[in-house]
Symmetry: C2
Subunit: 283 residues, 2 copies
């Protein structure tokens, strides 16, 4: 692996694990003949069945070395026996569950240091659902679904693992009516780019500076750079948000996004040719 | 009434009819001592109870003359006895139900001619839910909720009554996860401005060229003027929509929108002072 190969596969949840496996296939392709660690730290218990599903899926996709990193407490995240599971891994996959479990149990621990090293050495980190949110610097934790945000509404944020900076990632995006809360989060500080990922859909971040879309749903990019007015700091907490001049891009498979210049473009050439063909919605 | 007074009160559904009645109060204020006709044409039957609710609400708000225009077939919309109900009215309120019932039963009938004359003579037309959608030139009829739009997805459009041109209105907006379908509709022809109205929220269109927001929720304006790319005409019908560079404004009470220049701004002066105070979300 080369440092320049490092990538994040950030998945909006409900990725296919038994049929086409388009998204898991991309994780497998990046792992190659290497070692993949699946971490169920986002779940409290009963993680064996979930791990088995992923192990079966990844083995069927040609990944020969699949290990289970189950962590049930912060203390476990400091144990040598757990840390050793990450030895020589070139990829870590975070399953869904509760994103605060991930950050509270492994944030600033030796386990997290190893995860970061794997990434910095050119590895692949993947996460789905809660595992997706945890990769970003700021996570949306709960609240604010299927409604327009009030300035002091129910939506809560928390610091994530920070493996990708300057973005707030939300998942199960259109399925759970989360665009209101992501707009609210961007309004609070437009330096963060909002990225809302639908189920069965992923963004693949390469070298930390651009991503492309994989899967059947859409990815919503919410860019507050040009916001000309917002009432977020000036009115009562129960007042509904106002925000003018948000730029929104709806991306689907075949689209790429430049995180540095905040600009979308069509994929071209070899990268586009390599995309799976079946990225269509069910009839 | 003066022609310049004509206004539309377009309501996102579930407006309060028994407590604050902020939105219905604005309709009543505009009717003044005049005559209001409530039309239940959007509903198939059992409309008496709904009419009674509105009659009670409007009478409590000081409207002395409230009439019921019930239409159950297109033939009824040509009857002299029905047309006479609109005589000397200076306002018509369309209830919720099915927007296609409204357009298919009164579109291009003498009833609709009278409705249009009332508006053109400076009257007020109001509609909630289906009644809101029917006022626009293009209506979203069904489909496409809580998912990202496919190019040839389930969302269907139909021609509305056309009392406000150049816009597509959607209602129950954030509550029913409809932003995907409105983005899809705007992508098909960005000449139309998308206006998504939350429940308990209304836009009040004055002189056909600007509106302000009333109520507790938000209004989403989706402006495709600067769209730099969309895949809507070039890919398979099952492919998920892509659209770059959509401008989105989230507006709430206190905001005004200039439909000619497609520009939001804060309300100022007398109009702002007249807004009801209690436009806050429930705790």
């Amino acid at each position: 692996m080369q440092k320049s190969d490092r990538s994040l596969v950030i998945i909006g949840g409900h990725e296919d694990r038994t049929n086409d496996k388009i998204i898991l296939g991309e994780v497998a392709r990046r792992i190659g003949s290497g070692k993949l660690v699946v971490s169920t730290v986002a779940m409290a218990k009963g993680t064996d069945e979930l791990f088995d599903q992923y192990e079966t899926a990844f083995r069927s996709l040609g990944v020969k070395h699949v290990y289970n990193l189950e962590i049930n407490s912060r203390e476990e995240a400091t144990r040598e026996s757990k840390i050793k599971i990450l030895d020589n891994a070139n990829g870590v996959f975070f399953t869904g569950g509760d994103q605060v479990k991930i950050t509270s149990q492994i944030g600033d621990t030796p386990i997290f240091q190893r995860v970061r090293e794997i990434y910095d050495d050119g590895g692949v980190l993947a996460g789905t659902s809660a595992g997706a949110s945890a990769l970003s610097e700021t996570m949306l934790v709960y609240g604010g679904e299927e409604q327009s945000p009030a300035i002091g509404g129910s939506m809560r944020m928390a610091p994530g693992l920070g493996l990708i900076g300057g973005v707030i990632i939300d998942q199960h995006f259109m399925e759970r009516g989360r665009i209101g809360r992501l707009l609210g989060a961007v309004a609070q500080n437009p330096k963060n780019l909002g990225i809302g990922i639908d189920e069965q859909t992923a963004v693949v971040v390469e070298r930390g500076n651009s991503f492309y879309v994989l899967g059947t749903g859409a990815v919503y990019v919410i860019d507050g750079t040009e916001v000309s007015y917002s009432n977020v700091a000036e009115e009562s907490l129960k007042k509904t948000l106002s925000i003018y001049d948000v730029r929104v891009h709806v991306l689907s498979q075949g689209d790429r996004f430049d995180l540095i210049n905040r600009a979308p473009r069509k994929m071209q050439g070899r990268a586009a040719d390599r995309l799976p063909e079946k990225a269509e919605q069910a009839a």
